[in-house]
């Protein structure tokens, strides 16, 4: 970064130089540059396994849910064989969307422009004037709705990728991505609730994403929720933190129980202490041997926020937040809500209460986030301001990755920016990679020792 500044034509952002993992210094222009954004659509959203929906949202034949992969509109639909297809929501004839509702049920998709009619698996069934106007020249087998390259689900969570060379979903998720999803299943089978809270924030999507690793902002951004006791210091701003880093940019950041604290809780619960404080509650939920087995010796001590790269946040409130890019300066937030099928009624009510009141545009926490994210994005626009760096250096070089014989690893630390650094390092590698093959060969592994 220049010591002094002379205004000249704005140079293109050099992806290879825009983030320095050795210092945690990031070029602000990645939050405002149109060319960077366009490259994200191809190099990140065009390649990644993107979360689409949960199987329980479309249980019956013909049920659909429309979503996005980057700026591509897609339809997830259950077909006659009860398979879930993810189809591009664009008529192969002229590009018109064939499904304009957010959710619902259909027998087939009918294009409102010229009446091309598609089966639930995308097959072109009929076109008006096939004989009279096309003179039977149209090869209907070639002109169905285009499916995404691959669809797969992990524990009911449906993902899709536009890139046929993407690795298998479970490999893509790796142990950290899978752990993030496993954390949602510790109370047994889950179902998604009717209603996705959706709103738009005038911010770059990456700022919304990296904020989930940020436990530094809690006391300040969410000061009112803490002061009023809506959430507690213990749950939202504890000193003990655990950061778990996964290949390809997945990560988990936030509160973690130290081994000592876990032992203390275990002893207390063994004596029948049943207090429902946040930590006790979480520690107790995870005292079940099956849950410990599922999450692993390090994973079960994390109460943090997983992010499935690039843009799916698993929140602690039995919610998932998808951050959908709408240009460099706008992001749509979709809050999906789920509950364990067998949750007792009282807990179900409490869970819904937290889901409706914590996040979303009227949520007592999230109201204040949008303000910070949009203004931080604004800070990446000015001629002079955009040349200033973003400082993500907190804790760099002060911590150590601990390893467990199980193969799990994590950084047991205080509030830090390890998660954000990992996110941008991965982002940079995705942006530089020429292909999936290149990315798989050249991406970084999480640090072994010092971080």
């Amino acid at each position: 970064m220049p010591e002094s500044f002379i205004a000249t034509d704005r140079a293109a952002v050099d992806i290879a130089a825009c983030y320095d993992a050795a210092t945690g210094i990031l070029d602000r222009r990645i939050f405002s540059d149109e060319a960077v954004y366009q490259r994200e659509l191809t190099h990140i959203f065009g390649r990644a396994w993107n979360f689409i929906c949960h199987e329980s949202q479309i249980p019956q034949r013909g049920n659909f849910f429309t979503s996005y992969i980057g700026e591509d509109e897609v339809i997830a639909v259950r077909d006659r064989r009860r398979q879930i297809n993810v189809l591009l929501n664009t008529c192969p004839h002229r590009g018109n969307t064939v499904c304009r509702a957010e959710l619902g049920s259909v027998n087939s998709f009918f294009c409102s422009y010229h009446g091309w009619n598609f089966d639930l698996d995308g097959t072109l069934l009929a076109v008006p004037g096939e004989e009279a106007f096309y003179r039977n020249d149209l090869d209907k087998k070639k002109w169905g709705l285009t499916p995404v390259a691959k669809v797969a689900s992990y524990k009911g969570f449906v993902f899709a990728t536009l890139d046929p060379s993407a690795p298998a979903l479970t490999d893509y998720l790796g142990w950290v991505g899978r752990l993030g999803i496993d954390m949602m299943t510790i109370d047994g089978e889950i179902e998604f609730l009717d209603g996705v809270h959706k709103n738009r924030i005038q911010c770059n999507w990456k700022i919304a994403v990296d904020n989930l690793y940020d436990w530094y902002h809690v006391k300040v951004s969410h000061g009112t929720a803490l002061k009023l006791g809506f959430v507690t210091d213990e749950s939202m701003a504890p000193n003990d933190q655990m950061v778990i880093l996964g290949e390809l940019g997945h990560g988990i950041g936030g509160p973690g129980l130290t081994r000592e604290k876990q032992a203390e809780f275990d002893a207390r619960h063994a004596e029948g202490d049943d207090r429902q404080q946040w930590y006790d509650f979480n520690a107790k939920r995870r005292s079940d041997p099956a849950v410990r087995e599922l999450l692993g010796p390090i994973g079960f001590r994390s109460f943090g926020h997983p992010n499935i790269f690039p843009n799916l946040w698993v929140a602690l409130t039995r919610q998932l937040c998808l951050r959908i890019p709408k240009g460099p300066f706008e992001t749509e937030l979709w809050w999906f809500n789920y509950q364990p099928v067998n949750l007792p009624e009282e807990q179900r009510r409490y869970s819904k209460f937290m889901q409706n009141h914590t996040f979303g545009p009227a949520g007592l926490l999230e109201q204040d986030d949008g303000e910070n994210w949009s203004h931080s994005t604004r800070g990446a626009r000015g001629t002079r301001s955009s040349t200033l760096p973003v400082n993500l250096s907190m804790g760099l070089g002060h911590d150590t990755m601990s390893h467990d014989p199980s193969g799990q690893s994590g950084i047991e630390t205080v509030v830090s920016e390890h998660g954000q650094r990992w996110h941008y390092q991965a982002w940079q590698e995705w942006m530089l990679a020429e292909s999936w093959q290149d990315l798989l060969a050249n991406h970084s592994l999480p640090p072994e020792h010092e971080v």
């Binding site: 304009r100 509702a101 957010e102 959710l103 619902g104 049920s105 259909v106 609730l193 009717d194 209603g195 996705v196 809270h197 959706k198 709103n199 738009r200 924030i201 005038q202 911010c203 300040v220 951004s221 000061g223 009112t224 929720a225 002061k227 009023l228 809506f230 749509e332 809500n337 819904k352 209460f353 889901q355 409706n356 009141h357 979303g360 545009p361 009227a362 007592l364 999230e366 109201q367 204040d368 949008g370 303000e371 910070n372 994210w373 949009s374």
Partner: protein, 177 residues
């Protein structure tokens, strides 16, 4: 008391006038940031609710709104509403510091029913908000209110807010409707 629709025009005008005075006064309290006074207008058992609205096919408009007891943007009792108001006073409520400037336009007021001490009132509204130097939000929708006469005074006992937007085109809804 007879059903509202069977009352004389004079009786209906009188009630409607009273309702209008209440709603305009309430809107004034919200827009002039007298939120503690606004809380005084609520019954202790108020239910303040804004469901999520979705874009649906014409044949499935019954799916348009989420159901009571499910997911919602607001699903508040008096305690929650008080918390929203207190939030602004304790500092660090960044969505409202600097404060929003709001204006409630209340229109198409219809008294739907008046049974015993409760009056069901529907109205349309536009809530205009501007923040900082150039930010604007505008929410248009319908309210279905229940006003209850308590010790001779009208109070708000229920407010169901149905917005026209499906994706909320605002970074937050830190204001009251």
């Amino acid at each position: 008391m007879r059903d509202y629709q069977q009352r004389s025009i004079q009786e209906r005008m009188q009630l409607r006038f009273e309702v209008e005075e209440f709603l305009y006064h309430e809107a004034e309290l919200l827009d002039s940031r007298r939120l503690d006074d606004w809380l005084e207008l609520l019954t202790d058992d108020i239910h303040y609710w804004m469901p999520i609205r979705r874009t649906t096919q014409a044949k499935e408009v019954q799916l348009e709104f989420t159901k009571p007891g499910g997911m919602a943007f607001f699903d508040d009792d008096k305690e929650l509403l008080s918390l929203r108001v207190q939030r602004l006073a304790v500092g660090r409520a960044w969505a409202e510091d600097p404060p929003s400037r709001t204006r409630h336009m209340i229109t198409n007021i219809q008294v739907i029913d008046a049974v015993a001490d409760e009056i069901t009132v529907h109205c349309n509204f536009q809530l205009y908000r501007t923040r900082l130097n150039s930010e604007e939000d505008s929410w248009i929708g319908r309210r279905e209110d229940v006003l209850r006469r308590t010790d001779g005074e009208l109070k708000l006992a229920r407010r169901h807010v149905y917005l026209e937007q499906t994706v909320i085109l605002s970074q937050n809804m830190s204001t009251l409707f």
